[in-house]
């Protein structure tokens, strides 16, 4: 393997928005300047030329909705500026043809994008617009950096060699090479591979393989919907497929959006083969939903059983060749994903860690247009099993002790990456804002140092019916999205439903511990050694386990308690594999009914442990708050973990006897 293929993984680190509340070149400011400066959502760094996003007051919406052009929009101050800078259009960011009432209630109808010639001084134009009384926010349309890394195509000879020794649940011939699903410790793939370092897909697939009612939006490069291993699981807009070309047949505001929508070209034509396209979107999509058991290629986490029953995907295309998309397009793509029916937003992109300072900068005060879109996605219910939408982001690939935003925000899941050896991948971001870990793959260096093996990377679909390898938290992220899709499928099977918060708790607590292997050093493929202790407690709650997630959908573990004996319990023992990395907060609730049933006379959480004394046999529950990822909940001036609440069932029996750790050893048979 040529060293030129060994890259610092930057593809998933795509610049989105730099949502700082900084002023724009204002060393000394008058009170008026200060007022104007407060309207800026971000800076002009890496901004797309020739456009600005504005947020107007409620009174201006009616005028702008009927505007013929920027220069004849009914708001004289805007008309004046538009004329001076030669503005050609003022258009709404969001699509009010779908769910208009709810969007108006959220103020989404107040976001507009103003277009003008690219030679206009952007900062000057922004200041002019910010000075308009009816404009409350101004956001530069920061460029989204396109993926630059190329995938490595699979050598089919490797497949044949590996398959001979395999015994797999599906007949997809490349599944034995997908160690990230089923890791049997095959050293042909990776010399330091460790069996079991996977997502435990084999056990999960015995429970469910997905359901077509669950839809995942792949917000990325265009996904190759003609790929034979993806096409059967594509969400197809039948009204547009059977309608007329160039016509918005279903009236959703998007023309010909059959397999999704291309927000870069603003057309319904999803594309993936332009020069400089990387295959990133198609690769990510395959991990979520490549068709299983079709005697072809790879498997997908929620790709079904081969009977047309996989979860569905569509493409919300935000990258294309060398073209760059601003935040207006990103926000519209997220909104479209919600309106089109997705329950899971698969986002293997984000800004480089540090570009957005903290949660306040991202989501408080003058919030950005993409934050508005993400919140809209989260509150949009598209399946019976979830009362809203789940947002999953890659943590980032620059090895920093923080996830990049938006994933770092404390309401979104940010995914770190581990390698086939079960250790942190050399590139993964970790610590602040990181919530959970999944396989992201890693090159293995074969002596001499200029030679590398790609089989430790994640294997998935590539455009034009091909298959290949990529690595990154970008590849870890769709494992979590796919498992979430499996969980919602199983919840539908069982007639269960979740709030978004409950569902995030389920995912983040259904993990296997990470920390026990984090000692000593590991070669860092970009040079030197990784000190593994640096990552201890900082890779999220642990490694996601698909089977644990599904079992968590089916039921919960009850905590056995004695009667008349005080217990001091580490509740982490009852989460995941019992050794997960969750910090217990001191906040908890016990209902009056539980207190009565169990005769609770003493309760507290001290030092992260639950202290409880029951005086009566019976049943009840307790809800406890945790930090999922790190030791502090994010918010305000902090990038941190996610606050989750977990309900535990309690069963007190008179024959139960607790040991010094508060654990009842003799709670076995029910009677």
């Amino acid at each position: 393997m040529n060293k030129c293929r060994f890259f610092v993984v930057s593809l998933a680190v795509m610049l989105l928005a730099s949502c700082m509340h900084d002023t724009v070149d204002q060393p000394v400011m008058s009170s008026e300047d200060t007022l104007i400066a407060r309207k800026f959502v971000n800076t002009s760094e890496a901004a797309v030329l020739g456009e600005l996003v504005i947020y107007v007051d409620e009174e201006s919406v009616a005028l702008l909705e009927g505007a013929e052009s920027a220069t004849r929009c009914g708001i004289s101050e805007i008309e004046t500026i538009a004329t001076e800078i030669g503005a050609v259009a003022i258009e709404p960011v969001f699509n009010m043809k779908v769910n208009a009432e709810r969007k108006r209630a959220r103020g989404m109808d107040r976001w507009y994008v103003v277009s003008f010639p690219s030679d206009v001084d952007l900062n000057m134009a922004a200041k002019r617009f910010a000075a308009v009384e009816s404009i409350e926010r101004v956001q530069f349309s920061t460029r989204v950096e396109r993926p630059t890394e190329q995938a490595i195509e699979l050598d089919y000879a490797d497949v044949i060699a590996t398959t001979r020794a395999a015994n797999m649940p599906f007949n997809d011939d490349m599944l034995p090479m997908q160690w990230h699903y089923i890791n049997n410790g095959d050293k042909q793939l990776f010399p330091t591979i460790v069996a079991g370092e996977d997502i435990n897909a084999a056990a999960a697939w015995e429970v469910t393989t997905g359901r077509p009612e669950i839809v995942v939006a792949v917000v990325d490069e265009g996904v190759c919907h003609t790929h034979p291993d993806l096409e059967p699981n594509f969400d197809v807009n039948e009204a547009e497929l059977n309608g007329s070309d160039g016509v918005d047949d279903d009236g959703n505001g998007y023309v010909d959006d059959i397999y999704g929508y291309n927000f870069v070209s603003d057309t319904g034509r999803i594309i993936w083969g332009r020069p400089h396209d990387s295959g990133h979107g198609t690769h990510v999509a395959g991990t979520v939903a490549a068709v299983n058991n079709n005697n072809l290629g790879v498997s997908g986490v929620a790709g079904g059983s081969g009977n047309g029953d996989g979860v569905r995907i569509f493409s919300s295309q935000i990258f294309s060749g060398k073209d760059e998309l601003g935040v207006k397009g990103i926000a519209a793509a997220i909104e479209y994903s919600a309106d089109r029916g997705a329950s899971i937003l698969q986002c293997s992109w984000g800004v480089e860690p540090g570009q957005i300072a903290n949660d306040t900068a991202f989501a408080t005060g003058s919030v950005s247009v993409e934050y508005e879109a993400l919140e809209y996605f989260i509150e949009t219910k598209n399946c019976d099993a979830l009362d809203g939408g789940l947002v999953v982001f890659a943590a980032g690939n620059v090895g920093k002790a923080s996830a990049g935003y938006p994933g770092a925000y404390n309401e979104y899941i940010a995914v770190t990456a581990f390698a086939p050896d079960g250790l942190p991948a050399y590139y993964t971001c970790y610590d602040r804002g990181c919530n959970i870990s999944a396989p992201g793959g890693e090159y293995y260096m074969i002596a001499p140092p200029s030679t590398y093996s790609e089989k430790g990377l994640v294997l998935s679909t590539l455009p034009e019916g091909k298959y290949g390898y990529m690595q990154g938290t970008s590849m870890a992220c769709p494992h979590v999205s796919g498992i979430a899709a499996l969980a919602l499928s199983y919840a539908l099977d069982l007639g269960k439903s979740y709030t978004v918060d409950e569902f995030k708790t389920l995912l983040l607590t259904s993990v296997n511990e990470f920390d026990s292997v984090l000692t000593g050093f590991k070669p860092n493929y970009s040079g030197g050694n990784m000190n593994l202790t640096t990552y201890k407690g900082k890779m999220g709650t642990g490694k996601i386990d698909a089977y644990r997630v599904l079992m968590g959908v089916r039921g919960t573990v009850s905590i056995p308690l004695p009667v008349g004996q005080e217990v001091i319990l580490d509740l982490n023992r009852y989460l995941g594999d019992g050794q997960v990395s969750l910090k217990t907060l001191s906040e908890y609730t016990i209902s009056d009914e539980t207190r009565e049933h169990l005769g609770i006379v003493n309760d507290a959480i001290l030092g992260g442990k639950l202290i409880l004394t029951c005086t009566k046999p019976g049943a009840g529950s307790i809800t406890v708050a945790f930090v999922a990822g790190g030791t502090s909940v994010g918010g305000g001036q902090l990038t941190g973990g996610m606050r989750i609440e977990k309900e535990f069932a309690l069963i007190a029996r008179e024959n139960h006897v607790a040991n010094a750790d508060g654990f009842v050893d003799n709670a076995e048979g029910w009677l």
């Binding site: 039921g555 009850s558 049933h597 046999p617 029996r653 048979g669 029910w670």
Partner: protein
């Protein structure tokens, strides 16, 4: 004299029968024989799941998902004396408690109240134990054995 003997015998038999029923000596398992699934425990809808099969031969099978995410199997023997149900697991461990039981007239519902200091009532309804749960519990047992071998 002959009549006295006959009447004495009849009285003794009646006394013996009464004694058996009141004192718990007579074992009549038939009214609880069948497969049951938990419906409520401690007057609450349980967040866990329990199936119990009381077999005609005096053995029982429990398939429970209570203290683990998987269904687990426990077996043993039981005895119903009057309305008092007792039993022990296959390893000889007695149940946590004995139970006072009653069965609804249509035999669709089984109510068991523990004989603890504060009786906890559990209600079960008739439902066949799904084969997949039996298989899962068997696998769980196999895994446990495997884990212990390590």
């Amino acid at each position: 004299m002959k009549n006295f003997k006959i009447w004495s015998f009849v009285v003794l038999v009646l006394i013996a029968m009464t004694a058996c029923e009141n004192g718990g000596g007579k074992k009549d398992n038939s009214k609880i024989v069948g497969e049951w699934r938990i419906e409520s425990w401690d007057n609450m809808e349980p967040s866990f799941d329990v199936y119990i099969a009381f077999n005609e031969d005096g053995t029982f099978d429990i398939y429970q998902q209570v203290y683990s995410l998987n269904y687990e199997y426990y077996g043993g023997s039981y005895a119903l004396a009057g309305d008092v149900l007792s039993g022990e697991y296959a390893d000889g461990t007695a149940w946590a408690t004995t139970y006072t039981v009653s069965v609804s007239e249509d035999r669709s519902q089984l109510t068991m109240t523990s004989q603890e200091s504060v009786g906890v009532t559990s209600v079960y309804f008739k439902e066949s134990i799904p084969e997949e749960i039996k298989e899962e519990a068997a696998q769980t047992r196999a895994q446990l054995v495997e884990e212990r071998l390590f």
